[in-house]
Amino acid sequence: MTALAILAAAGFGLAILGAAFVALRTRSTPVAVLAAGLVSLFASVVFLILAAPDVAMTEAAIGSGLTTFLFFYVLGRIRRESANDQ
């Protein structure tokens, strides 16, 4: 059980770092936003493994759900206004 938990935590930790790398290095901003949301989602799984279900719920609902949509609302507005400019 503990070995499995450690393995899962290590896997999700690597997945977090990989998604964070994508979020930093990609050229397109929407991909970066989605990757940051993915980081939050994996982090919420790690919280669950660390015996913090309350924090995991909050992170999944707020960190990966609402934050991503806030970014996309602002992105959508900016994209439409730059299209209007031309």
């Binding site: 939050s40 493994i49 707020i62 970014f71």
Partner: protein, 119 residues
Amino acid sequence: MLSQIALATGFVLILMGLYGALTHHNILRMIVGFTLADTGVNLVLVAVGYMPGRTAPIMDSAVPVADASARIIDPVPQALVLTAIVIGLGVTALMLAYAYRLFRMRRSLDISKFTELKW
């Protein structure tokens, strides 16, 4: 072992987020960097509260009240992180609103176009 892994992940995530916030020129990408660092700080705090071999701080049939002290992990960091996540969303929303205002002002998201405070 588990808490060391989470601790290391959190610390690396903080560094990566700060690197992104410091080196990107696009304001939105800087905000993405800040949210990454935010998640990293939360991971570190929860990892500090974790103790091997113990379970979540909820007293139900699996954890009777009498031996709760010996069975649960530290609940205080969890309460702190819970509030930190909620405030993190508020901070992100504020940053995004200001980024949008800056875009409206200068028609650009490039931070190097904003030179008023430069000398």
